[in-house]
């Protein structure tokens, strides 16, 4: 058993919490992977910022229709019951709270629910896309992420050091080591890898973990 979940396993875990019939927006990149792991018998309906509800997987290579793309500009297909709409209607869905779940990647997430996932600072060309709308859009805003950065620093912190995407918006974090809710501006541990001690997990977390009496075992299948 590995000492951390792979990205696919984190995505798998996040997918288990999505109910049948939920309306879901998956951020560009890593979060898109969540769509692959819907539990049998459940079918979420995926929204993309550029104006499609109920799109499906990518078409076979060579069969792309470049007028049928998602927000990551990747070719997609339609599922039965799909709808097109313009950008203002699309973000009315987002901002109006009509999505059940938004799942985003992140650089940092703080115990007060603040999210920083759009800018690594003043260098380079800034680009925000739909992130600042999505964090206020869904009934549930979840983050999927490695628990620590590539050089081992915590991504779950007391206060974000990078430019914020949104204030107090995240409610659940799925990491490579744990599932953590944000409640009353605290990180509340819900599940952790069984082989990992609480002390080890706390050492890799940049803010105090509240540990309830009962926590679950974070176990993902080999993918």
């Amino acid at each position: 058993m590995s000492t951390r979940l792979s990205n696919a396993q984190i995505a798998w875990r996040a997918a288990q919490d999505i109910e049948d019939g939920a309306y879901v927006n998956l951020g560009i990149g890593f979060p898109e992977m969540v769509a692959r792991f819907q539990p049998p018998g459940r079918q979420a309906i995926f929204h993309t910022e550029n104006g499609i509800l109920n799109f499906g997987e990518a078409p076979p290579e060579g069969e792309e229709d470049w007028d049928l793309i998602n927000a990551g500009k990747r070719a997609v297909t339609l599922r039965p019951g799909a709808a097109f709409f313009h950008h203002a209607d699309s973000f009315a869905m987002v901002r109006g709270g009509h999505l059940d779940v938004a799942i985003l990647g992140t650089y940092e997430v703080a115990e007060n629910g603040d999210l920083a996932n759009w800018s690594t600072g003043p260098k380079g060309v800034p680009a925000v896309g739909g992130a600042m709308d999505l964090v206020h859009g869904a009934k549930r805003v979840a983050v999927i992420t490695d628990h620590v950065t590539k050089d081992g620093r915590p991504k779950l912190v007391q206060r974000c050091s990078l430019p914020l995407t949104g204030v107090g918006c995240v409610t659940r974090v799925y990491t490579s080591l744990a599932v953590i809710d944000i409640e009353n501006q605290r990180f509340v541990l819900r599940e952790k890898l069984p082989q990992l001690s609480l002390d080890e997990l706390q050492a890799m977390t940049g803010a105090e973990l509240v540990v309830p009496d009962s926590i679950g075992a974070l176990i993902a299948p080999e993918i």
Partner: protein
Amino acid sequence: MDKTVDSLATAVARVEDGMVVMIGGFGGAGAPIELIHALIDRFVATGSPGKLTVVNNNAGNGRIGIAAMIDAGMVAKMVCSFPRSSDPRAFTERYQAGEIALELVPQGTLAERIRAGGAGIPAFYTPSSYGTDLAVGKPVAEFDGRMYVQERWLKADVALIKAELADRQGNLTYRKAARNFSPLMAAAAGFTVVQATRVVEPGSIDAEQVITPGLFVDAIVEVANPQQEEALIRAGVAYP
């Protein structure tokens, strides 16, 4: 996922005392007569739901639909732009007796407030009503040398609307000018109930032609031969 329900009574079961209910339609076009009458049936049988705030462009006509709700005594307040009709007596009598409240809103402002409610826009500025009695007490602001009135979003607990086609996921089309306020109300309500003239399978409505995407819809009941409010009024029908 299948949002259809098997009866009008089930469809309107979410409406409770004191709720804000948006009802689609402009004149007879788009009035969900069967949903409204199902609500009246429940009120007559159980005394609930009462004390409702109803949002519609008008305030009922004749003795059916919203007018019949008012006659039944279910409506505490109307939010509308034009509480007149060919036969406005139901509202007029209650209003003049002080038994029903009225929030009068310019029609375009009413549409935009509902749109804002669905779109997560808590407030916006409009030139409409600036300097008039309907702007009294509202914040005003100047932009680019012109004065505007701040208006707030309008949301509802439940919306009752009439569609032409509905697929089981809730994607809707409307018939001609029966569209009017309904797509806006579907988005502005916490729970949206649709009576559709025909329920079809997902994929039957071209994705390009969906007017209200399914995520705005919560319950669908098929009413295959819906009554037309204007025709009922011209026939002098009263409900119940």
